[in-house]
């Protein structure tokens, strides 16, 4: 936008904020832009891009917050991103935020910006803290020495922001900006710079973007990125010669000498313009560090902190998650009321199971993400995060990870989605990507139902806890292996040294924390959320289409046959009730009830049709009761009703109190039930017998048969669908692992969300709705699998393809599908190989078969 330079009055500028980590850059950014900001990633890389807008004195200012860096070398992606933005986008003004208490180190970045010869404004931030520490600045002199305007600011109080923007605008408006101050790097270096610079100046194409002097310095510094440019041979040769000469004469490589010179210049300027009135004291931060990084206390404090973070995120998060789940269930029900009851409309299924289910699946993570990032923001803003990394470094370093990787990994035991988002706390791209890749190996909460279903079915009580423990342990071991593998294979040669600044402790501001939390949550909803929703709909379609219209069995005929059997069995009760064998009152009465239920299925309870069906039944019963044998019928019906009520009450209280069979409390309820039933029996023992016979021997088997038919239809549909076909199709591949097509189909369901595995398995086994406690499903599994195969199922579920929400989040956080696909494919491959090895060696050695 420097095109506007010709007019003295400008109305639109772009500025870039740069600065060291912990210099308070983000606070200044938040103060300048307020709520008008936007977070994303730089195209194709894992570096976060933040920008926002503000208006100052009639000028629209576009503010870009560049990543916090110490320097502008090409060693880290963050530095490269910052540098490329400055060179390629040519912002009108660069604002370098300096931590006033630590001016010398912070000015190092400023010297590099001066080399680039860009319009620069320096913000001396946290000047209040510096003053407290007895640091005094001669601003006028410092500004003259550095050749850039300097403004003092106090970021968290918002002081100096207006002055800063004034300075920015006046720099932007300055048409004839004098070339910045040229730093003299010493005669030994300067003569080489001049020579190379002279050669570069001839190459017009290369000097369009940045100054020849800067290019010459970067060539001498052996900057990877700059060396990649297409340089003519004479420049390359001259550079190589100069590098050799400098190494000979000065005894170190040029980049070290140049860094040294830059610090020399800073030190010179600071000796003149900065005065330390009080000797640096043992600050409060060091005192807090005495405790928090203490050899003995450090780790326990860290683990307590982590426990709080985990509890806050998951235990506390469960409450709003419940509301969200109920809310979406209610929404689904409300929408289904628009259709006739039991309607199998495709649109309804898409709306309720596909879209509402999918959106619900996205939103349900919001409480976790919100709370986790609140905890992380507090840990970071106080400065504790760096200490946490410091404490954990010894342990994490052994497994090839950064101390800060611990938090995402811990959170991974709850859920991978917030865990992968939490990798943002890792500044280094390599550490971040490795952590992201291994987070799904921390067995998340959604995988627990799979284990709780399988373990009790196959392993004796004493082995159950160790097996569960072993599964978690295998996950961690595989994670360590994958981390090492990635470090060797993908990120080889990148330095893994631990150097990290420990920022001073500060009290976080509510606004700072909330801005951070809001950014993360919004980013999740907008980016990961849309992908999760799209995959949800695809998963819905996979298990819905193609629809089966002709079933393998004639279920209508089976239903009719069963109903007829049911009615004739009822007639068999006539002698028991002392009703003449030819009488149809009993059959008519129960048939009327059957018809009512049948008719009601087409209506919702609040519709008139529902009530009309009941009235119709009541009329029939009333008529029948009027008849000769009606009195016995009335007693019989009343008896059935009473017995059912007593039994239902008993079941309800057992479930409500979560009582196990055989416990004292259970027996108490059981006794009470028996007493009540005895009382009912005494009133009319003969009819009581008939009623019990009806409920236990006629009605229950019939109801079971009906639900079995329903489940068979469901199961046939699932087998016929694409998901079922894929399950069958991959059976040959899964066979060596000990799995059959049913497991294959359930695994496809597990990609939607791990806990779906159990429900999907229930459907393919024609068991209808099942959960992790379903004994019926356990029995079926016991018939089909050995303990070895069951163990393999759990291992495969643990390691293979993380759920789609995880993949979508990895895609969002890594900035490319490449990493998401590597995660999906790589982990599935590892799962396959490991399960294969376990199963085949189990077979070979005869373990668990």
């Amino acid at each position: 936008m420097r095109k506007n330079k010709m007019s003295s009055k400008i109305n639109k500028i772009t500025i870039a904020l740069v600065g060291n980590p912990n210099s308070g850059k983000t606070t200044i950014f938040n103060k300048i832009t307020g709520e008008r900001q936007h977070v994303g990633n730089y195209a194709g890389v894992t570096v976060e891009k933040k920008d926002g807008y503000c208006e100052h004195k009639g000028v629209n200012i576009h503010v870009v917050d560049l990543p916090g860096t110490y320097s502008l070398t090409a060693f880290s992606l963050e530095e490269l991103v910052a540098r490329n933005f400055i060179i390629d986008e040519k912002p009108d003004v660069i604002v370098d935020i300096l931590d006033a208490s630590n001016i010398e180190r912070n000015l190092y970045l400023a010297t590099q910006l001066m080399e680039l010869n860009v319009p620069l404004v320096l913000a001396l931030n946290m000047s209040d803290t510096a003053k407290l520490r007895g640091i005094e600045f001669d601003l006028k002199l410092l500004s003259d020495l550095l050749g850039s305007p300097i403004v003092t600011t106090i970021g968290h109080k918002g002081k100096g922001i207006n002055e800063l923007l004034d300075a920015v605008i006046s720099v932007a408006e300055d048409e004839n900006r004098a070339p910045g101050i040229q730093m003299n790097l010493g005669r030994d270096i300067e003569k080489h710079i001049n020579k190379i610079q002279g050669l570069i100046e001839r190459e017009q194409k290369l000097t369009e973007k940045c100054s020849p002097r800067w290019l010459a310095i970067k060539l001498l510094e052996n900057d990877k990125e700059i060396h990649q440019e297409n340089w003519p041979d004479d420049i390359i040769q001259a550079t190589e010669k100069a590098v050799r000469r400098i190494e000979e004469v000065l005894g170190d490589s040029p980049e070290i000498i140049i860094a040294d010179k830059r610090y020399g210049i800073i030190s010179g300027a600071c000796q003149e313009a900065v005065r330390l009135t009080v000797e640096a004291r043992h600050t409060y931060s060091d005192k807090i560090d005495e405790v928090l990084t203490n050899r003995i206390l450090g780790l326990p404090i860290f683990f307590i902190m982590m426990y709080i973070v985990f509890q806050l995120t998951f235990a506390f998060g469960e409450i709003p998650m419940g509301w969200i789940e109920n809310g979406f269930a209610f929404l689904g029900d409300s929408i289904s009321y628009l259709w006739p009851n039991g309607s199998d409309s495709l649109l309804l299924s898409l709306l309720v199971d596909g879209i509402i289910g999918g959106v619900g699946g996205v939103i349900v993570f919001v409480p976790n993400i919100f709370l986790l990032f609140m905890a992380i923001a507090i840990l970071e803003d106080t400065g504790y995060m760096a200490r946490a990394a410091f404490n954990m470094d010894r342990l994490m370093h052994k497994i090839g990870l950064h101390g800060k990787s611990f938090i995402p990994m811990l959170v991974g035991f709850g859920c991978s989605v917030p865990a992968i988002m939490a990798t943002r706390t890792l500044e280094n791209r390599r550490d971040r990507l490795i952590t992201m890749m291994i987070v799904p190996l921390m067995s998340c909460g959604a995988r627990l139902p799979i284990y709780t279903l399988i373990i009790p079915a196959f392993f004796p009580q004493v082995w159950q806890a160790p097996i569960l423990w072993l599964i978690y342990l295998i996950g961690i071991m595989v994670a360590i292996g994958v981390a090492k593998l990635l470090r060797i294979a993908v990120f080889k040669g990148e330095s893994s040294a631990f150097v990290m600044e420990l920022p001073p402790y500060r009290i976080p501001t509510l606004k700072g924390v909330m801005v951070h939390v809001w950014e993360r949550t919004w980013l999740y909803l907008r980016k990961a959320g849309t992908v999760i929703l799209a995959i949800s709909i695809v998963m819905w379609a996979l298990s819905t289409f193609p629809q089966k219209t002709v079933y393998d069995h004639d279920y209508d005929a089976i239903t009719e046959q069963s109903t007829n059997d049911y009615l004739s069995a009822i007639r068999g009760l006539n002698p028991l009730l002392d009703i003449s064998p030819q009488s149809t009152v009993l059959v008519d009465a129960l048939h009327a009830e059957y018809n009512m239920i049948e008719e009601q299925q087409a209506f919702h309870p609040f519709e008139t049709g529902f009530e009309m069906a009941e009235q119709k039944k009541n009329k029939t019963i009333d008529r029948l009761v009027q008849s000769e044998e009606g009195k016995k019928l009335a007693v019989f019906l009343e008896m059935i009703e009473q017995i059912s009520v007593v039994r239902n009450n008993f079941d309800a209280s057992i479930e409500q109190n979560e009582l196990e069979t055989g416990t004292t409390k259970y027996l108490l309820f059981d006794q009470e039930k028996d007493h009540t039933l005895e009382a009912i029996e005494k009133s009319n023992p003969v009819i009581y017998q008939a009623a019990v016979k009806y409920i236990d021997d006629i009605k229950s088997p019939y109801d079971e048969k009906m639900s079995e038919i329903n489940q068979l239809i469901h199961s046939e549909q699932m087998t016929y669908s694409i998901a079922g076909r894929i399950g069958k199709g991959i059976e040959p591949v899964l066979k060596p692992l000990g799995f059959d097509w049913k497991i294959g189909t359930a695994l496809i369901g597990a990609f939607a969300a791990k806990e779906v595995f159990v429900a999907q398995l229930g459907i393919v086994y024609s068991l209808g709705e099942t959960d992790a406690k379903s004994d019926a499903l356990r029995q079926k599994l016991q018939k089909d699998f050995t303990p070895l195969a069951a163990f393999c199922i759990m291992i495969f579920c643990l390691i293979s393809a993380p759920c789609m929400a995880t993949i979508a989040t990895t895609r969002q956080e890594s900035g490319s599908w490449k990493w998401a696909m590597l995660q999906l494919g790589g982990l599935t491959l590892i799962a396959y190989i490991l399960t294969l090895v376990i199963y085949q060696s189990g077979l070979l050695f005869g373990i668990g078969i």
């Binding site: 110490y70 320097s71 070398t73 060693f75 931590d99 208490s101 630590n102 010398e104 180190r105 190092y108 520490r133 003259d144 020495l145 050749g147 101050i181 040229q182 730093m183 003299n184 790097l185 010493g186 052996n222 170190d252 490589s253 980049e255 070290i256 860094a259 040294d260 010179k261 610090y263 020399g264 210049i265 030190s267 010179g268 300027a269 000796q271 640096a280 931060s285 060091d286 560090d289 990084t293 050899r295 760096a386 990394a389 410091f390 470094d393 010894r394 370093h397 330095s495 040294a497 631990f498 150097v499 990290m500 600044e501 420990l502 920022p503 001073p504």
Partner: protein, 89 residues
């Protein structure tokens, strides 16, 4: 206007000996002599204010664990492996 590097005269007694940072006790003030590591690492340390000739205080030297040093007003944590490569006097 030109700025040039000042020749800062090191104020260290001449009979001090060179040793790795890993051996320095808590509380001592030392001067960085050289870093026996690759260029990348050297540059990274220089970016954080750790370059030959500068003085710093060892705030914490935990046995077997990482270090904390005070470089001017900032506190920097350094892994033990790296502390072996930083020569001070």
């Amino acid at each position: 206007m030109q700025l040039s590097a000042l020749n800062v005269i090191p104020m260290v007694t001449p009979n001090t000996t060179k040793m790795p940072l890993a051996m320095v006790e808590t509380g001592r003030v030392v001067r960085l002599v050289e870093i026996t590591a690759g260029k990348n690492l050297k540059t990274r340390l220089a970016d954080m204010g750790l370059y030959p000739g500068m003085e710093f205080t060892v705030i914490k030297n935990t046995m077997g664990g990482p270090f904390i040093i005070a470089v001017k007003e900032s506190r920097i944590a350094i892994g033990r492996g790296m502390a072996q490569k930083i020569m001070v006097e």
